[in-house]
């Protein structure tokens, strides 16, 4: 069992809780999904992005993983988990790489993360159900992914900045 400083432990726990609450709030908003099924704001990514930039890949992965487990047990089913895991894995890997490359700001990284998250989920659906017709969702997903990516990226950047100041 690795030794985890209390402050870090608390912060990570807070981030996980934060992301769960964001997911819940998101689900309360009026359904855009009447015409655009699967469109999510992905606000929970703010927490994961924050963890990625403030600490690193391992911590972000921890937040992401635990959040996924909790969200599945609390609100979801097995399908929630399969799609959630696929989306989160692809999204986080890409975001970690992009952050390393240092060619985008948090906004760009979160756009990539958000879009890939949705793409990952569609890919899993296509594989599981052996139908390519789901490609019809791509234009909407891409567009929505960009918009929400911007929002999440900006929010995360603000959090990071104020966090630095408070320290």
């Amino acid at each position: 069992m690795m030794k985890l400083p209390t402050k870090k432990l608390t912060l990570l726990a807070l981030l996980i809780a934060f992301s769960l609450i964001l997911s819940y709030l998101e689900s309360l908003l009026p359904p855009l999904s009447a015409f655009f099924p699967g469109v999510k704001l992905g606000l929970a990514n703010i927490a994961i992005l924050f963890a990625l930039y403030h600490y690193g890949v391992k911590e972000a992965a921890t937040v992401s993983f635990i959040r996924l487990m909790l969200a599945t047990f609390l609100f979801g089913s097995v399908t929630t988990w399969i799609y959630g895991a696929a989306g989160a894995f692809i999204s986080l890997s890409a975001m970690a790489v992009l952050r390393r490359l240092s060619c985008f700001s948090t906004v760009g990284v979160s756009i990539a993360g958000g879009v890939l998250h949705n793409l990952g989920q569609i890919a899993v659906a296509v594989l599981l159900y052996e139908t390519a017709s789901l490609v019809y969702y791509l234009p909407v997903l891409l567009f929505a992914g960009v918009l929400s990516g911007i929002a999440v990226g900006v929010a995360a950047a603000l959090c990071l900045r104020y966090f630095e100041k408070v320290k």
């Binding site: 009447a34 700001s105 760009g108 990539a112």
Partner: protein, 124 residues
């Protein structure tokens, strides 16, 4: 603003715009190549459950191991009238009518897809 930040912001904008451009182009292609639907294929967990003619008036209830969905065919379109899944995204979906369009109920593993082939009258 430092040069590095400027460069990153510029890359962000390039990324955002190219993705939007791709999505618009894709949407245009899909819109131009869409065909009127003829039959509706319902698959449950990847296996074909039933095929119906789109141009019919009927109500179909599908029982799966995870729950129940009700499809309604009317006016040359098909939509999900009700379902007992947790999110009900399938019910909120707008009616579909063109080839390639689909309504999906992920929790139930149900996909309702429109094809432009004639219905081979499996279920009539």
């Amino acid at each position: 603003m430092t040069d590095r930040k400027k460069r990153r912001m510029r890359n962000d904008i390039v990324l955002a715009f190219s993705l939007v451009a791709v999505s618009l182009a894709l949407m245009l292609v899909l819109l131009l190549t869409r065909q009127s639907g003829k039959s509706v294929t319902v698959t449950l967990n990847g296996e074909t459950y039933a095929v119906y003619a789109l141009d019919s008036d009927r109500r179909v209830t599908i029982e799966s191991e995870n729950g129940q969905n009700t499809l309604v065919f009317s006016d040359g379109r098909v939509y999900m009238e009700s379902a007992d899944c947790k999110d009900r995204l399938c019910v909120r979906h707008a009616p579909i009518a063109y080839g390639g369009e689909s309504i999906v109920c992920l929790p139930h593993g149900l996909i309702v897809r429109i094809t432009s082939d004639d219905a081979p009258d499996i279920t009539g």
